[in-house]
């Protein structure tokens, strides 16, 4: 992560002049704006950032960020992003995608990325439906709910992506809400700053296809007190951090409180930073133990040829292993 604290970067630097084709009122707008503000606020220059997107409405996010933008394949956003980050560790890498992209077709990558703890940030836009294909149930829609384009109530259960992130090994887990931009900016910045793999779930209405979990619903208009359903755990004194070198008891306690928050849903929905595990090495650190010079001498940057275009590899020792001499 290359953060130049001294540089003044404005949000405008991350804006593009191309028209945006999301539906009016889409939760994606709040997330897009938060990403732009967060990166600018971190003082990172656009060319130092690569935003990888999956497929779907949210997968188009890279188009609307003025940075290296990579619109990948359905479900494959994480391995694309991981390859870029490992090859050029100086890049700030963001991966974004929807709930179908991440929890259905890409779920295998999600789990295995957790095992690696590569220093990048994954933002999952969760609106519980496949919007771009006209509103089918996604893996995060609860069992039995029937959003408006479903012919029958949802016959499949809901995956709890926060829990899946924890058991997979993500070392920073948070949740935001697309219309709470102020908090979302802070969450994205913390996720990017975290040295390791961050998972940020962003709850968002799909005004076109999700008629159940709407802006009004999240805003708690139906609740007796009329207060939003979402609340910020940090405002209630929740401490998500497992410090480096924590003992087993501390780890267990932190995971237990995380599990409780991850299962809270319905009347009150926790947002904020839910887990920070500083007790697990990053993949880059593990690589550096094997490969002297990594990450300074990275796959993208190390010399491979001289000025004449001749290979500079000296493989004599490997040949000697095989030589008959």
């Amino acid at each position: 992560m290359a953060i130049l604290e001294a540089v003044q970067v404005t949000r405008k630097a991350y804006q593009v002049e191309f028209p945006n084709d999301w539906c009016p009122g889409c939760g994606d707008f709040g997330i897009l704006s938060s990403i732009q503000q967060a990166l600018a606020g971190l003082g990172i220059l656009p060319h130092q950032v690569a935003v990888f997107g999956g497929i779907g409405c949210s997968g188009k996010t890279p188009y609307y960020v003025h940075a290296y933008g990579v619109h990948t394949l359905h479900g494959r956003v994480l391995p694309f992003a991981a390859g870029a980050k490992l090859a050029n560790p100086e890049l700030t890498v963001l991966a974004v995608g929807g709930d179908g992209d991440g929890m259905a077709i890409g779920a295998g990558h999600f789990v295995n990325m957790g095992r690696r703890n590569i220093d990048l940030t994954y933002i999952l836009f969760n609106n519980e439906v496949y919007g771009l294909t006209k509103g089918q149930a996604s893996p995060t829609l609860p069992l039995g709910l029937q959003t408006k384009s479903l012919p029958e109530p949802n016959i499949q259960g809901r995956v709890n992506s926060l829990m899946l992130a924890m058991t997979s090994g993500f070392t920073w887990i948070g949740r935001g809400y697309s219309y709470n931009v102020k908090q979302l900016v802070r969450l994205i910045q913390e996720a990017v700053r975290h040295p390791g793999l961050s998972y940020l779930e962003v709850l968002q209405p799909c005004p076109t296809y999700n008629n159940l979990h709407t802006k009004e619903w999240y805003g708690g208009k139906d609740r007796p007190n009329g207060q939003p359903r979402w609340y910020d755990v940090q405002e209630e004194g929740y401490d998500p951090v497992i410090p480096e070198g924590a003992d087993e008891e501390t780890v267990q306690a932190k995971l237990a409180q995380f599990v409780e928050k991850a299962h809270e849903w319905g009347d009150r929905i926790p947002t904020g930073v839910l887990l920070v595990n500083r007790n697990i090495s990053t993949f880059e650190e593990r690589l550096a133990e094997r490969i002297p010079g990594y990450p300074a001498s990275s796959p993208a940057k190390r010399p491979i040829a001289d000025g004449e275009g001749q290979s500079v590899a000296v493989l004599d020792a490997f040949f000697a292993e095989l030589a008959v001499e």
Binding site: A13, H47, P79, L91, G108, P299, A300, A313, L315, V324
Partner: protein, 648 residues
């Protein structure tokens, strides 16, 4: 007796996990240390332990063998299944060494002997009035002029344990060495060469070397005292070692080394036979010195599946890293969607495909050339790609390196076709010349920090279709990538005119590649270049064909081989003169439908007069090809000749 000492085909077999490979390595190195040329062929099951595996080592004093032989001169076994499977392949004048325990085992008691083979063997023995047992098979062999010797492995192991005061289980571990030593004893070959081989294989483990050397001594002593092998038709004599030492390696290693020489810095893989060994080798050889000082390295990542393997490699390639993935057919099937992504985004990545018996799971550890048309056509829609195929281990090294030059020069995915045959074939080869490996990175956009906010026209159409590629993280060249059709900036578009412009730009690169790649990288001609009898082939059949041509030549039959190395873009124009002269044209390949022949006909209109095919999962041998070509030359052979051997 007049012994042949110019060439030998040696076979060792045993259950997987019993050290058959180690035995073969010992024998191979022992021969190579005597300055002999070695060619090793490995056959094994998709199994960890217990199933039958065998290894052929073909040795020559005068020339490098380039294929295996389907017949055996010296068969070494220490269990019954090897006897049952391979005695029939042993030639008159040859020798079978078997464990004294196995001299009368009923075939039906051999657990993993395929029913089909057992029934065939039983019927064959019955015809000769012999019982369906190993004794029957040994008698059958004796009647054919094969000598069979019972070797008391257990006795020798007990003697070794006694002599060295070690536990029997420790002595038991030298079983393979004993088998090799019996062979060397009977070949009257230089025992010092085996000592050197043991030192090489057990480098740094002096105690183990001593244990094995003692075991070998006991085996020699037994052979000298107890076996009368005057009638064994073969002997081996050591030559001096060549000045620059030969390498003894397999295709997995050659490809890995070629990639390191080329400056590959990132490789991904998901475990799959027979490709995994390449990546594992790289992972074990991830750092090395650089010529100008400093350390070179490769990051190897084992991914969760092949979808991840190729997309991770593509992500790395976007940053400028030379990036690749290695897989086999089933893995390539999963990679296809991302292949198209790399095509439309003009990403230089290399995919090494070790073809295996297919479709589906097929025969994971057996060879086939079944992926050619798939490699050429895989993917929905149209995008350019390059497909090249290596013919042998030496080519595997240089092609693995060249693949990156193609990928970066033309900014497209390159599929390097190898197969199980090359992956596990071991050969003595002259040392590779790393300095002959050139690194051509193609057109790369330089950083333009002053460019500021303006996006960079990454996909600007040019005359040759190639526009400078950018590196993620580089200042001033900011733009987008997308699997959607896109503008010059990588913005998604469905505009009909831009679509045409970008489609034409991408496809133009293929025409340019076709024009620029020199003919000798596209194909090679061997044998008598002016004769009409033309064999056309691709990939790992090369060695067997070259041997067949030599055998034909000895019969006074002139023929030539046109080995096509660049399969896509297909070198139709350059091949035309050869096709016009060819009479007859014989296409040779290891698959059912003659995929190369179909591609040839599609691109040139010329169909071969004869197809020689093999699809039982085993590679072709020079001898079997020679016999088929001889029938072709004589006239009247069927148009489609299938090489078969139920004993392989």
């Amino acid at each position: 007796m007049n012994h042949s000492n110019s060439e030998l085909s040696w076979r060792v077999g045993g259950p997987q996990g019993s050290g058959v490979d180690t035995a073969a390595r010992m024998f191979s190195y022992a021969c190579a240390y005597g300055g002999l040329y070695v060619f090793g062929r490995r056959e094994y099951y998709s199994n960890i332990m217990g199933r039958h595996s065998y290894y052929d080592v073909r040795v020559s004093a005068s020339r490098q063998p380039t294929s295996h032989r389907e017949t055996v001169d010296l068969l070494v076994s220490f269990e019954a299944e090897t006897l049952a499977r391979h005695v029939l392949s042993t030639v008159a004048g040859g020798v079978v060494i078997y464990n004294v325990k196995d001299e009368d085992t009923p075939l039906e008691r051999i657990t993993f002997l395929d029913r089909r083979l057992r029934e065939d063997l039983t019927a064959h023995l019955q015809e000769q009035g012999l019982p369906p047992t190993t004794a029957g098979l040994l008698e059958e062999a004796r009647r054919r002029g094969v000598q069979a010797f019972a070797f008391p492995y257990d006795e020798i192991i007990a003697a070794l344990a006694d002599k060295l005061g070690v536990h029997k289980s420790v002595a038991q571990r030298t079983l393979n060495t004993i088998a090799v030593a019996v062979s060397i004893g009977m070949l009257e070959y230089d025992a010092q060469c085996l000592v050197k081989a043991l030192q090489k294989i057990f480098a740094g483990r002096e105690k183990i070397v001593r244990l094995n050397v003692e075991a070998a001594e006991l085996a020699y002593e037994y052979v000298r005292t107890n076996f009368d092998f005057e009638h064994f038709a073969f002997r081996l004599a050591a030559n001096g070692l060549p000045e620059s030492p030969m390498l003894l390696l397999n295709g997995n290693q050659a490809s890995a080394l070629g990639k390191l020489a080329a400056g590959m810095t990132f490789q991904t893989y998901y475990p799959i036979s027979p490709a995994t060994d390449e990546s594992v080798y790289l992972e074990g050889h991830h750092t090395f010195p650089l010529r100008q000082g400093g350390t070179g390295s490769v990051v190897v990542v084992q991914t969760e599946d092949e979808l991840s393997a190729i997309t991770m490699a593509a992500g790395a390639a976007l940053t400028g890293a030379r990036s690749a993935t290695a897989t086999s057919g089933p893995g390539l099937s999963l990679m296809v969607e991302a292949l198209g992504w790399a095509g439309i985004n003009e990403v230089p990545i290399v995919i090494t495909d070790y073809q295996r018996g297919s479709p589906s799971t097929g025969m994971p550890t057996r060879t086939e050339q079944g992926d050619l048309l798939f490699a050429v056509h895989a993917g929905h829609g149209e995008f350019p790609r390059i497909v090249l195929a290596s013919g042998d281990i030496v080519e595997a090294f240089y092609d693995a390196a060249q693949a990156f030059n193609y990928a970066e020069r033309y900014q497209m995915p390159v599929i390097h076709l190898l197969d199980k045959n090359l992956a596990s074939t071991t050969m003595t080869v002259p040392p590779f010349d790393v300095e002959a490996v050139t690194v051509e990175r193609g057109e790369v956009a330089v950083a333009v920090p002053e460019n500021g906010h303006d996006p960079f026209p990454r996909f600007q159409p040019t005359e040759n279709g190639i526009s400078p590629r950018t590196l993620l993280g580089q200042p001033g060249t900011l733009h987008w990538y997308t699997g959607g059709e896109h503008t010059v900036y990588g913005r998604v578009t469905e505009d009909p005119a831009v679509r045409e412009q970008q489609m034409e730009k991408r496809m133009r690169k293929l025409e340019v590649a076709s024009r620029e790649i020199p003919p000798d990288e596209k194909f090679k001609v061997y044998g008598d270049a002016s004769v009409p009898l033309t064999v056309m082939s691709w990939g790992s059949n090369k060695g067997a064909i070259l041997e067949a041509l030599e055998l034909l030549s000895a019969d006074g039959i002139a023929a030539r081989l046109v080995q096509v190395r660049l399969l896509w873009p297909f070198p139709a124009e350059e091949l035309t003169p050869y096709l016009e002269e060819a009479n007859p044209l014989v296409v040779v390949e290891c698959n059912y439908s003659g995929q190369f022949a179909r591609l040839l006909q599609e691109c040139t209109g010329r169909a071969p007069e004869y197809l020689i095919l093999k699809y039982n999962g085993r590679p072709m041998s020079g001898q079997s090809l020679y016999e088929a070509l001889k029938r072709v030359h004589a006239g009247g052979a069927e148009r489609r000749i299938v090489l078969r051997n139920p004993l392989e």
